[in-house]
Amino acid sequence: MATNTSVAERDSRRSTAQRSAQTAESAIRPPVDIFEDGDGITLLADMAGVSKERLNLRVDGNSLVLEGDMQFELPQQAEALYADVHATRYRRSFALSRELEADKIEANLKDGVLTVRIPKRAALRPRKIEVRG
C-alpha cells in the first residue's frame, strides 16, 4: 500500500518556502481524508464557510490545488472575544500521479465538505485474474 501512494502530499517544505517567499498571507490547511479503491482515489476536505462560488479547485501541472475563501456574516463593528480560526482562506495541494485521469476529476461541495473523486485510467485498474484449472 505504501509503495502505491498515488497522491503524495507536497505542501511540506516546498510550499512553506513558497509561502514565506510570497507575502505574509496565511492560509488554513484543511484536514483531509484520502482513500483509494479499485476505480480511483477519493479526497474529502473540511472547508467550512466556503461556498461553490468561492472555491477554487484546479489541476496545476501535476498538482491538485484546493483553495477557498470563507465567508460569513460578521457585524461591522464586531470585536473578538475568542478565536480558534485566524485566517479566512484555505489552501492545500497534492501531487497527482500519471495513472490518474486529471481531466476526469469530479467534485462536490456540501455543507463545507469538499469531495473530490479522481478516477484511475481504465487500463490501470486492477483486474481480477481467474485461475483456470
Partner: protein
C-alpha cells in the same frame, strides 16, 4: 502544523488575533479559560461581539444541524453533537485527518446576554449562534440638561 496560523493576514481575524494576544497578556501570559480546549479541537469556534449581540461561529462542516444540541444557561453556552464519517471498508486509507465522533464545547459568554433571545443558523458548514444582549447593557448616551 499551526505555523501558518501565526502569520497575519489583512482581514478582520487579524483583529481577533491581536485582541486575543492582548487578552492573553492581560490575563497573565496565555492563561486559557478553564473550559477552553486545545488547539485543533472540533469544532473550531470564534466569538465576536457588538454592543447589541454576541455571535458565536462554529466551524462544523458536514454535520446535520438537526443533530446539534445547543443549550444556554444564563451566560453559559453548550454545544454538543456528533459527526459520523462512514469508513469505506474496501478502500485503502492514506489519510484520516477529519474529526469523527461526538463533540461538546462549552463557552462562557458575557454576563449581560439574554438567554431568551438566541438564534442559530447553518450555512456552508458554519453554525452561527446569535445571542442578543440585554438593553440595559448597551452603552447609553447621557444628556446634560
Amino acid at each position: 502544523m499551526f505555523g501558518s496560523l501565526t502569520r497575519f493576514e489583512n482581514s478582520l481575524f487579524d483583529e481577533f488575533w491581536r485582541l486575543q494576544q492582548q487578552m492573553d497578556e492581560l490575563f497573565g501570559g496565555g492563561t486559557g479559560g478553564i473550559r477552553s480546549l486545545p488547539r485543533g479541537s472540533f469544532p473550531a469556534i470564534n466569538v465576536g461581539h457588538t454592543p447589541e449581540k454576541v455571535d458565536v461561529y462554529l466551524f462544523a462542516p458536514g454535520i446535520d444541524p438537526k443533530q446539534l444540541d445547543i443549550a444556554i444557561q444564563q451566560s453559559l453556552l453548550t454545544i454538543a453533537g456528533k459527526r459520523d464519517i462512514p469508513i469505506s471498508e474496501k478502500a485503502a486509507y492514506y489519510r484520516q485527518e477529519r474529526f469523527s465522533g461526538e463533540f461538546r464545547r462549552v463557552i462562557s459568554l458575557p454576563e449581560d446576554v439574554d438567554p431568551e433571545r438566541v438564534e442559530a443558523k447553518y450555512r456552508d458548514g458554519i453554525v452561527q449562534i446569535t445571542v442578543h444582549r440585554r438593553e440595559s447593557a448597551k452603552p447609553r448616551q447621557i444628556e446634560i440638561h
